[in-house]
């Protein structure tokens, strides 16, 4: 086949592409969705069929792409006969399920979600069977679990669906995790994750010391996925899914992934007695338990689910036996089970749809009402029971033959024929029960709906599958012989064991077992018939086998009790302990490098030359500064206003220090930020609780101790920081990258103010990030304040203001507002006159920024202060009646301009934010530097201005809002009183 690699890739990719497309259709587009999904599955089916000649006789097709070359991992799509057989199941049954689902889903169900997930699952499952590399297999394996989860929970308004989905995901995904562990060990043993290399490794895995852990991990993955004992409980709960999902995922394909994996690794792992013991015993247990439990189910889908578990147990048992003939039987049964069980599920869906219930006891006599459905379901059920001339009979007879063969002469092996016959009996019994109680007997009278045969297109998929059952059952050799050989060769290699596919092999022991099972099953059913129609739920004895309940308890303990206990012990919802821990960790981290003997060696000694030369006024500055810091710390609790003002003193000391120590830019910024911060905090004070009075209540000993501890932390932290700072400052500076900036600022950035050049040019990207943060903060503040509800006690005007108003009212006759305005008349006028001056100052600072102290940050803050002054002078209403203040727009413009400047560099084929500059001679102004960085700086300016103004104004507006809210509340109250009268 030409372009094999391309077609293989299409097989995996097409369903995923379809899934994405399907997600975008309108909710009610059932037809379009079905056409899309049907086309995808049919296309893939045709491609797969075309691959048949390339995979015959144990040939393999591969397509390899680089995936993670550093880890030696390639994405490999690999198709052999076995994967080919599975692909036919995935796409063939997938197509039929899509056709069925089109008519099954009601118009109210959102179609895009269903078909999108279904196609994605199809892609994931294809990924599993076509995986040519172990890690890739696990990846798609987990994807199938995920989409199974989403599909089970499709009707997520239903509690059962949600629970079932969660249990299924927890069990299968946990198994997948174990599988990943197993695959990693296999990769370690073999030295490659490539499946072909692994399959060619012979006995290396089996003879390796890590064989048992590998086997256990792989078994966990396979057994959970195929719902084998003791993990079988998730499958019946998954029946809350829509029936097409049950038919497709939970009988035909996904649950087969477990046995698929066992068959895949069979050539390199099965040659060991552990393999036999684990899988044969788990298989036979599941086979028996599943068949026994199925007999006692009252829910039609529950019966089918347990029957599926039982049949999967049968396949696991066959794979566990480890003989090539058993492998043939297993592969054959995988095919047969998929055909009859999928058709039975679809029939069950029709019955549920038409009759309105799935309870076997309430149904009855449906043969008359829906003869076609009944006939098809009966043939499929007979195949499930193993009646001759149907495909179930042939593979079951192969199974019986295999159980008689000896595989190691153990107790288990010797008793297998009897156990198998017993399971066969139950299988016949539940099949007969299904036929008898649903289709025959007296017609049910109390059904929610009047049943009749559905539209033809719902029956076609079932009919096709049943036809296959019959064809294989009557003429096994010509119909399925070639396919089966191809599939088995994919696992066993070109050398096939000798087997014959025929209906009649003479009077063999297997035939006798079949007849014993058939007769025994019928007898069992009719003996138990009255009991089964009674008020029982679940099987006797085994009802106590509550894997589900153990699972739930384990989940509760793990995810709730233990988690909460750990959270109680190590976690806290209180901020103070968290901050304390953070500080202690930070201090320990700072101490860490010192512990390595650096202290002892004297490399960090603090030498103080005493007496040292220092300007006394500088010392005085910091005596005041430190006093302010301590005062603010002391006053922050009882006298907030004082604390804000005193803190400003410490800020000013910092500001003067910057100016003193040759950092004029910093001094400017610090001064402006100090002003803005003070205004901000003053605005906030209005909404904080009343000033606390120091009541002089004695503090408890515990609180005193806590304070002492905090004081200790504070002193140690401060002293440590001071010591580090002093140690660094008294040592010469080495290897700083600063000199590079100094050298290149003018030649490459076109500016003499190196700090500004660093900000807008060399590190422009950082600045862009920073102003973005600033914009986000401002908008967050704005958004938070839009829904601001002050505390009830803060709504009223503060005490001082009421006192002042009262005082004014007593002294003057003029209205209150007039008096308040009088106080502000002189400073107000000055502030108004200052607006153009401050604004001009801002422009000046901005323009000179590149060559002298100034720049976008400083200019933005200055301009913002010009605005704030107007608000202070005239009040928000006065300003907004005269000026259009649009801070959000300024933020947007600033960010766009800054980003656009960066992008402009891309136009000239330079990296993002590369700047260009030159000097221009302008009239009046003279020689002016024109750098693109100036435009960037304008963005910074605009954003800083917008952000600062937005934050302050949003806070200032609360005072207006609150009066409006109060007035509204009062009006509503008056209305209510009026109405009451």
């Amino acid at each position: 086949m030409p372009d094999a690699a391309l077609y293989l890739t299409i097989l995996i990719a097409l369903p995923f592409v379809g899934s994405v497309i399907a997600a975008f259709f309108p909710t009610n587009a059932r037809n379009a969705e079905a056409w899309l999904a049907g086309t995808v599955s049919l296309t893939n089916l045709v491609i797969t069929i075309m691959f048949l000649p390339s995979v015959r006789n144990a040939k393999v097709v591969r397509a390899e792409y680089e995936w993670l070359p550093d880890y030696g991992l390639n994405f490999i799509a690999r198709l052999d006969g076995f994967a080919w057989c599975f692909s036919i199941l995935i796409f063939g049954i997938g197509f039929l399920v899509v056709l069925y689902a089109r008519y099954y889903m009601s118009p109210a169900d959102p179609a895009p979600r269903f078909f999108s997930f279904l196609l994605a699952f199809m892609g994931a499952m294809t990924g599993v069977v076509l995986a040519g590399n172990l890690i890739q297999l696990v990846f798609f394996w987990e994807l199938t679990s995920l989409f199974s989860f989403l599909l089970i929970a499709y009707w997520h308004h239903n509690q059962n669906a949600r629970d079932g989905a969660r249990v299924a995901l927890t069990v299968t995904a946990a198994g997948g995790l174990c599988l990943l562990g197993g695959m990693l060990i296999i990769g370690h043993i073999v030295g490659s994750y490539d499946l072909d290399v692994v399959l060619a490794s012979g006995d290396r895995i089996v003879s390796h010391a890590l064989y048992l852990p590998t086997l256990l991990l792989v078994a966990m993955g396979a057994l959970t996925k195929s719902a084998q004992f003791p993990f079988q409980f998730w499958l019946p709960r998954a029946m809350a899914a829509p029936t097409p999902v049950s038919a497709y995922l939970h009988s035909a394909t996904m649950v087969k992934a477990g046995v698929f994996l066992l068959a895949r690794l069979w050539p390199v792992m099965s040659n060991h007695e552990y393999w036999f013991w684990i899988f044969a015993s788990v298989g036979v247990l599941t086979l028996l338990i599943g068949a026994f439990m199925a007999l006692f189910q009252q829910d039609l889908k529950g019966l089918l689910a347990y029957s599926t578990i039982s049949h999967l147990g049968l396949i696991t048992l066959l794979l566990g036996l480890g003989s090539p003939l058993a492998m043939v039987a297993a592969v054959f049964h995988i095919i047969n089970h998929a055909t009859f069980k999928a058709s039975l599920f679809m029939a069950a869906g029709i019955i549920d749809h038409e009759a309105g219930t799935r309870d076997v006891r309430r149904l009855g006599g449906l043969f008359r009402a829906m003869p076609i459905t009944a006939t098809l379901a009966m043939v499929a059920a007979a195949s499930m029971a193993g009646v001759p001339l149907l495909n179930g009979f042939i593979s079951k007879e192969m199974f019986f033959t295999e159980t008689i063969e000896s595989h190691g002469n153990s107790v288990l092996d010797n008793n297998l024929p009897y156990l198998a016959t017993l399971a066969g009996m139950f299988s016949v019994a539940y099949s007969v029960r299904l036929i008898d109680q649903v289709f025959f007997g007296p017609a049910a009278t109390d059904l929610p709906r009047k049943p009749h045969d559905p539209v033809i297109w719902m029956l076609v998929p079932i009919g096709l599958l049943v036809l296959i059952c019959l064809l294989i059952g009557i003429l096994p050799g010509p119909t399925v012989g070639g396919f089966l050989a191809t599939a088995v060769q994919g696992v066993l290699g070109p050398q096939l064991p000798s087997y014959s596919l025929a209906v009649w092999h003479g009077f063999t022991p297997a035939l006798i077992m079949s007849f014993v099972a058939l007769i025994g099953g019928v007898v069992t059913y009719f003996t138990l018939k009255t009991y089964l129609s009674g008020n029982i739920e679940g099987a006797p004895v085994l009802r106590r086998l509550k894997g589900k309940r153990i699972f739930e308890r384990a989940i509760v303990i793990l995810s709730w009790r233990w988690a909460r206990r750990i959270a109680d012990i190590v976690g806290t919802t209180r901020l103070q302990p968290q901050l304390r821990l953070l500080l202690l960790i930070a201090m320990l981290a700072a101490l860490w490098p010192l512990s390595a003997g650096a202290l002892a060696s004297g490399a960090l000694a603090l030498d103080v030359d005493w007496p040292f030369a220092v300007d006394p006024s500088f010392v005085l500055l910091w005596i005041v500064g430190c006093g302010c810091a301590l005062g603010a710390a002391y006053q922050a609790k009882y006298h907030r206003l004082a604390a804000v003002i005193i803190m400003g003193g410490a800020g000013l000391a910092t500001c003067i220090t910057f100016a003193w120590l040759s950092a004029p830019d910093l001094a400017l910024t610090q001064l402006l930020v100090e002003i803005v911060t003070t205004v901000l905090l003053l605005l906030g004070l209005r909404w904080l609780p009343q000033r606390l009075e120091d009541t002089g209540v004695r503090i408890s000993f515990g609180a005193r101790l806590r304070r002492l501890r905090d004081l200790g932390i504070a002193i140690v932290g401060g002293a440590g920081l001071a010591a580090i700072a002093y140690a660094v400052m008294t040592r010469p500076q080495i290897n700083s990258i600063s000199s590079t900036f100094l050298e290149r600022a003018y030649s490459e950035g076109g500016g003499r103010n190196v700090v500004n050049v660093i900000l807008v040019d060399f590190r422009g990207f950082d600045t862009l990030g920073e102003i973005t943060v600033l914009g986000i903060v401002a908008i967050t503040v704005f958004a938070l304040l839009r829904r601001f509800r002050p505390a009830r006690v803060s709504v009223e005007a503060p005490r001082q203001k009421r006192f002042q108003n009262q005082f004014d009212a007593d002294r003057y006759d003029a209205p209150k507002a007039g008096i308040a305005a009088h106080y502000m008349i002189v400073p107000g006028l000055i502030m108004r006159l200052l607006f153009p001056v401050v604004a001009m100052m801002a422009v000046f600072l901005f323009m000179r920024g590149h060559d002298a102290p100034g720049g976008g940050f400083v200019a933005g803050l200055t301009f913002a202060i010009a605005f704030i002054l107007q608000y202070m002078a005239g009040g928000a209403r006065w300003v907004e009646a005269r000026l259009r203040v649009l801070p959000v727009r300024w933020i947007g413009v600033g960010l766009l301009v800054a980003a656009a400047t960066g992008l402009a560099a891309l136009v000239f084929d330079r990296p993002f934010l590369t700047s260009a500059f030159q000097y221009a001679d302008l009239p009046v102004l003279g020689r002016v530097p024109l750098a693109s960085a100036l435009v960037f700086d304008f963005g910074v300016f605009s954003l800083v201005l917008g952000a600062t103004v937005l934050v302050l104004i949003a806070l200032a507006h609360q005072s207006i809002r609150i009066y409006r809210a109060m007035a509204a509340a009062k009006a509503a109250e008056t209305d209510a009183i009026e109405e009451a009268r």
């Binding site: 430190c626 904080l688 660093i758 920073e770 943060v773």
Partner: protein, 114 residues
Amino acid sequence: MELVIAIAIGVLASSGIWLLLRPRTFQVIIGLSLLSYAVNLFIFAMGRLRAGAPPVLGPSGTGDLATYADPLPQALVLTAIVISFAMTALFLVVLLASRGLTGNDHVDGREVDP
């Protein structure tokens, strides 16, 4: 000079840390501001203290660290000052909203029994 700055950093940081560990939201705001003064001074001091060194390049357009002030810590601190303003603003609004919702100004939103 170095000793004075070191002591100043220490006192500012101590006051800030002490306030950070207090239970009232306003104390924490003031504490953060004081701590950011300390940290800004600390970063600035990493470029060594130089009184009277020119911060802006002369007409020649070139310079070296021996004569000029270190621009790098200055650039770092300049952005830090602006960001600390943004942080103070955001924190102030969050604490106001929290007070509106919970009715008290404790950092945990509820008074803890002493």
